[in-house]
């Protein structure tokens, strides 16, 4: 998935639980159906949190990677 497809990037680096999902939920409000949202987080708990958040909200977690202590999630809005 190329960078250019991303509509919004949420940088939640340095934020602890639950702020990464709170910031993402805030960003979702300004996006439309089908949009791709990228989230960068450093909280290790965010891995399970984004899986749960996607499941609960019906948005799709299309990508999940980790590199250099940073977690990257790409979500497609329902």
């Amino acid at each position: 998935m190329g960078k250019s497809d991303i509509k919004i990037t949420v940088d939640a680096s340095g934020l602890s639980c639950p702020l990464p999902i709170v910031r993402t939920a805030q960003a979702v409000k300004t996006a439309s159906s089908g949009d791709l949202i990228e989230v960068i987080a450093t909280d290790p708990g965010s891995v399970k949190d984004f899986q749960a958040w996607a499941k609960a909200t019906g948005n799709e977690l299309v990508e999940q990677t980790v590199a250099d202590g940073k977690y990257r999630f790409v979500l497609r809005l329902k």
């Binding site: 602890s16 702020l19 709170v22 749960a52």
Partner: protein, 137 residues
């Protein structure tokens, strides 16, 4: 995932309020309506003139616990009040003061931080909670 979660906040120490703020934030971010009912010392902590004050920690924290909490704050962890504010912006969170606690502690509605939406009694609390889960902190 729209079942209501009701958090009854009784304790007014910063660690318990932080834990409550996390539960509220998580619920709201997942689209659940969150009702918060403030009683006694939690209500006292929501007074606008001391919401940012040091409210101490639960007795079990001890010195090590205090050091850990202070280190987290120094590392930039948001305070419970800031987390609550972020959650309110998200919407779906209603914070109500317990009217009995208001009477006991001689608190007026104008004494409370704007995070608090209003004052209600226990019957209204139960009606709003519906059949959703109730958590007492």
């Amino acid at each position: 995932m729209d079942e209501t979660i009701s958090l009854v906040l009784f304790s007014g120490t910063d660690d318990k309020l932080q834990a409550a703020a996390v539960l509220a934030a998580g619920g709201a971010a997942m689209g659940k309506p969150v009702h918060i009912f403030l009683q006694y010392w939690a209500l006292d902590a929501f007074r606008k003139d001391r919401i940012g004050a040091d409210h101490g920690l639960a007795p079990e924290a001890g010195e090590k616990g205090r050091a850990a909490v202070e280190a987290a704050a120094k590392a930039g962890q948001a305070s419970w009040a800031d987390t609550m504010r972020a959650v309110k912006e998200l919407g779906g969170v209603d914070i109500q003061a317990c009217s009995l606690s208001m009477d006991v502690l001689k608190i007026e509605e104008s004494d409370l931080d704007p995070l608090v939406d209003g004052v209600q009694g226990v019957a209204a609390f139960y009606i709003n909670a519906g059949s959703g889960q109730i958590v007492f902190i």
